[in-house]
């Protein structure tokens, strides 16, 4: 992908056509920005101003009161410790899940593209098909299996679930990346007497940095944004931030504190937004790599 030149005609003057193009793009940009703008300004207003004022207007006297409340004292059901609990739960779920799923993907991808194991392609095919099957098809039996083995509703359980359902994409990602590496490299390592793990750790893994970055972006946003697995498998003690956000928004008794809701929403969106703005083009590459190639 070296050609990154736009294809439209070179602009000569500011013609009506050019104005139209910008008008369309700016209108679209406003549509995409609007919800974020509303969330931010609402979170900075006191409730009186929200009730009487204009939803898109800037706050007259910005206050971070709602943010502190959302972080440390908003009620998620019966407990009122704010969304910070969910934030730390999400962190504790995120780190092992991301590390393990990437490790699993890299090892699988390596074994699939350099070693010939009987039935491996069949396994990979089923795995890929599995990626398209709605989670609802697996959830109940999985809950039964986990409760029989005694890990249900624990951190281990939710991490395992993330690793299991991350397998198709992670394996595909690394398999395709390794398939692009020169086979001679691998052959040379074989002749030098390298075994399965030696070649992986000394030759292949050091070359995998780009894919590890892409996979990390994909998994960090994916796992942070997960709702359904956290709800089903994490247990009351480990509910991730998305589930707690939903609880805050839907369980407030009496009048809804929209400013607190919006502050909590912004807090929940912060990690993926930072990942997105820091990673830039890598983010697109990540999404595309999981699907475009193959």
């Amino acid at each position: 992908m070296s050609a990154v030149e736009p294809h439209g005609r070179r602009p000569r003057h500011l013609t009506i056509g050019r104005i139209g193009i910008y008008a369309f793009l700016i209108t679209a940009a406003l549509f995409f920005l609007l919800p974020l703008w509303i969330m931010i300004v609402t979170s900075l207003k006191p409730m009186d101003e929200i009730r009487l004022g204009n939803i898109v207007a800037l706050p007259t006297a910005p206050t971070f009161e709602a943010w502190t409340k959302a972080w440390s004292s908003a009620c998620t059901g019966l407990e009122c410790n704010g969304i910070s609990v969910g934030f730390w739960n999400s962190v504790r779920i995120l780190i092992p899940s991301v590390v393990l799923s990437i490790a699993a993907g890299a090892i699988n991808g390596y074994a699939l593209s350099f070693w010939r194991v009987k039935g491996a392609n069949l396994m990979f095919g089923i795995l890929l098909l599995g990626a398209f099957i709605p989670y609802q098809v697996f959830l109940y039996p999985l809950v039964r299996i986990f409760s029989m083995t005694g890990v249900y509703n624990s951190l281990l359980c939710i991490v395992l679930v993330h690793v299991i359902f991350g397998l198709p994409t992670m394996t595909l990602l690394f398999r395709n990346y390794y398939a692009g590496l020169p086979l001679e490299l691998f052959k040379a390592a074989r002749i030098d007497g390298g075994g399965f793990w030696t070649i992986f750790l000394r030759v292949i893994l050091p070359m995998s940095t780009p894919m590890i970055v892409v996979a990390s972006i994909l998994q960090v946003t994916g796992i942070w944004n997960d709702f359904i697995f956290g709800l089903t498998f994490a247990g009351r003690e480990n509910l991730p931030m998305t589930v707690q956000l939903n609880n805050i928004v839907h369980s407030t008794q009496g009048e809804r504190a929209y400013n607190v809701d919006m502050a909590a929403t912004m807090l929940a969106a912060l990690v993926p937004l930072v990942v997105y703005f820091v990673s830039g083009r890598w983010f697109v590459r990540g999404i595309a790599a999981g699907a475009v190639k193959g």
Partner: protein, 312 residues
Amino acid sequence: MTTVSIRAPGISPPATTKARRRIRTRLPAAFALLPTALVVLVVYIGCMLWTVRLSFTSSTLLPKLDWVGLAQYSRLFANDRFLTSAENIVIFGALFISGCLILGFLLAVFIDQNVRGEGIFRTLFLYPYAMSFVVTGVAWQWFLNPGLGLQKLVRDMGFESFTFDWLVNQDMAIYTIVIAGLWHGSGLTMAILLAGLRGVDEDLWKAARVDGIPTWRVYTSIVLPLLRPMVVTATVLLATGVVKLYELVVAMTLGGPGIATEVPAKFVMDHLFERNNIALGTAAATIMLIAVVSVLAPWVYARYVRPQGRHA
């Protein structure tokens, strides 16, 4: 396609000792794949079959292994909530996929016109995709609520009779979910199609310019057909999103007003974990499975399974 047997070069294969050695060197690879193979067997195949099996039982709170034939399915197709769910997912799927493709294509083409601040536009169009559906749902619910949101905004501007109450209107609520979905997903389509546009051969543009073909004609008649693989990719990504539609509904409407925005995924979750009707829940899950497999199996087969082994 090259095969990847790990023969040392120059050695012709089938001396039996060599073959045995080859098997021994491959053993670690087989071991490395074993956990995944187990997951495939137990989770992807086992759990799936288990769910299908449960849909033929009369399980309620706890799973039973009796056999009631298709009784759950006939109950399912007489269930208003399920029929509404099925209808909603068709409406959402059609509007969401076609909407994302059209909007994404337009955005990509307009960005491709040598505009200033291209990077900024691209970033702004795609950022919603980084956010969770819960965040998306909460944000749009707040913006579209008639009391304090968009409706009040327009009325305060002087249009007293302006009404936009789709969020709380039985007939229109599903379309608010579509709007939120479009906001979340069309940037992704834009990114994929834009990458495709940038891959179109420059000579093609020159030739079209020489022939005096208007730009829009080139885009619709020449470029769009060239983008077919990207359109397919985007469609598949969007379609998997459609099947998973759950959190957005939970965060935005909780399936309401009434049952107006129920979707199949939510029907299954509710029946499995709240309404204690495992058999009906798994029957609905099986219907989801059949729908997805019948659409996607041929595609996955042609794309991944048939061309075996290495291909870049």
